[in-house]
Symmetry: C2
Subunit: 488 residues, 2 copies
Amino acid sequence: MLMLAVFHLFFLLVTQASPLDQVLKYIDDHQDDYVKHLKEWVSIQSESGDPLKRDKVIEMVHIAGKAIESLGGSVELTDLGTEELPDGKMIPLPPVVLGELGTDPNKTTVCIYGHIDVQPARIEDGWATDPYVLTERNGKLYGRGASDDKGPVLAWLHAIEAVQALKQELPVNLKFIFEAMEESGSKGLEKILSEKNATYFSNVDYIVISDSGWLSSNPALTYGTRGLCYFLVEVQCAKQDLHSGLYGGVVHEAMTDLIALLDSLVNSTGHILIPDIDEDVVPLTNEEHLLYKTIEFNPEGFKDNIGATRLRHETKEDLLLHRWRFPSLSIHGIEGAFSGPGAKTVIPAKVIGKFSIRLVPDMDPNKVNRQVATYLSQVFAERRSPNKLRITLNNGSKAWVADVTDKQYVAGRRAISRVFGVEAELIRGGGTIPIVRMFQQTMQKSVMMLPIGGAGDAIHSQDESISRDNYINGTKLLAAYLAEISQL
Amino acid sequence: MLMLAVFHLFFLLVTQASPLDQVLKYIDDHQDDYVKHLKEWVSIQSESGDPLKRDKVIEMVHIAGKAIESLGGSVELTDLGTEELPDGKMIPLPPVVLGELGTDPNKTTVCIYGHIDVQPARIEDGWATDPYVLTERNGKLYGRGASDDKGPVLAWLHAIEAVQALKQELPVNLKFIFEAMEESGSKGLEKILSEKNATYFSNVDYIVISDSGWLSSNPALTYGTRGLCYFLVEVQCAKQDLHSGLYGGVVHEAMTDLIALLDSLVNSTGHILIPDIDEDVVPLTNEEHLLYKTIEFNPEGFKDNIGATRLRHETKEDLLLHRWRFPSLSIHGIEGAFSGPGAKTVIPAKVIGKFSIRLVPDMDPNKVNRQVATYLSQVFAERRSPNKLRITLNNGSKAWVADVTDKQYVAGRRAISRVFGVEAELIRGGGTIPIVRMFQQTMQKSVMMLPIGGAGDAIHSQDESISRDNYINGTKLLAAYLAEISQL
């Protein structure tokens, strides 16, 4: 913070403050208002996973719509119909907020995505303070949704408001798409994107998503996420579960087959044993490898945080490459077997092993599906088991990677440099965020993830927070991004 | 039944009816009373596993005690203290019913074990009729506990009552031990046996247990059960569950280690791979093998009943030997991994594999425990995994086998021949019944399992039943056994 202050002071002393500088100063001066605004949003328990709180989710949709309107934008709440609960009851899906601000054909149009629903939270889960009362402690703002994703959505709105308050012209046209079912599988979102692609979204030039976090204390741009193939491997040996005393010794047990199938997938070092599985992995270039050298990442701290004795790789570069840039296979569990505490002497009749492979460019889910099915069928055939085998791809999605030399990334890097005085870290994500690819594939436009959340925000967990610095400097960053992208 | 009728008619015509014949006829004549009595007992929902039904279990204890007293026996309800529920609440354990009938030092003393608690049952589970209303259909008496074990307990009481009703002298002294926690681990039973062994049970000559079923439609004596070593194999890789997107590729996953450990236990034909595991298995003699030839057992029907495509063995003898006479290993499941339906992208931090080995004479649980621990530790060491491994023997019990030339078995065979006109099948059980070995080891007396239940009684399942024939002829069998054992 001291560095930032010196940096601003320097600007203000030696130059007439530029329009952007004025905006950045305005944001600093109004930070308490922004914290108050976040407190209001956090107080709405918009848990999309809880049907009993659906009215709160819908209330949040209306609040977000009104916030865009108060900036002078036009808003459409697109009806997504109803959701059927497991008990057959129907409840309304929350509408998606579509907002438009500015329609100047000479300006760049930026589409901003965010979500206003949250993960569940109860103080009994182990929160230090009420998750729905934003509480500041030691520079951090604690509350459900503070970082994921109400804080970032508000940061966008405040960045625009600051420009308007200073009577400056908005440098770009904006399209907002705020959904309220992100934490519950983004139900209905893809349909809206497809339906509105040729009309509402037709003039979008760039898509920016602020729904992730930095890797360290350094500001970052995210240019890739891994894809996923999630498999179900079902083996059945009998009509119903059998008693291991009465039947043990005479039945070809389904669990024995399944365990052997799962054991054939990776070796003891985690190397995937499915033949040619990595033949489509894009070779790592020297240039790309260099990107990893500059990233701040502490292997020891990472290891200690997990509680692992030793990791599969030692260097910073290897660890990051294997989290982001190479495929990995994890075995998640088995459905249908005994999973409770204690002892049960059962021979399960039908067991379903669950494992998944994280995909990287240019792996194709359909091809991976064929490779897995062929390999496991062969392993199974060699066992000469009389049991029934069924291999299913539960869901598959490609990896996403952006071109970091694209104009958006240039604008993002300049904005980070301007606001934080440091070079942006170019990072990827190991997880799979289907909406990113969904935007890219539907709109065929450049997508950038521009996170403002910190590395330790504990999203989806107890004591979620966003630091006041991240929240306020993030707002400045988004304002700077809009200024930069308009000039490219 | 026709054969039995002809048989009895023949006796009545050519001879003065013997005392036992009179008893057998009396039992036949009073069968409706016995069914009515069973209906009363079945109506008591004495589910020992449900703390909310503990009063019903205790009510059943008092009913059983009164039934012994009505035969002229003396009864002691031995207090077992309290049971602590998972929520910390304390509830009373049901007392064990100890009953004594006859103290003639010149007579043999037979100790009869049975249990009066039952497995849970709800009509919603798929029963055709209310499980607690004994209902006769097509010669079968449907109801929870009809075969396991209220029917057999009542058969003993009715056999004695028939002798008394005919003013005959009881041929033996009797000691009853009826427990009401059998379906919940026989809590407290071992303590009672130890405490009372030198006093109350000191004059017991034989122990008879009627708590099992025939293998086919032929009456049987059970002379052996397998033992059990149940293992928990715990592998831990992290402090808490991890997201497979964020951590997949850099963590030595606990599931991968556990799957490999479990896969090292048996090969694809079910052969146990733990070195020397079968070195203490008593060699099969020709004489013993012959016993298997005469047993009625239909491999095809058995296979179809399971719903298996093919079994591990084809002949009747091989199937029975591998169910009763050889060890087997079953993998039951994994605790701590994902076990629900659908997909969850978790790297479980701590997983506990559950498997068990059925033991046969003369395998020793302590030695098996050492063999398993040594082998799995070696397999794990070869993986060079940094994770934490813990192998625990959850419970171990030796196999039980009786000498079939013992007087009890002679009496049992004669009784079967007398009542059914056929040779007894000498069978074993693949399961583990710890109380059998508990009785044998504590009292150091001969134990025989004398089942009256049929092969298709569906105990522990929906539509449990005992056939009217089995119930009534079983009562005769027990009366005949008492007559025969007194003469040996």
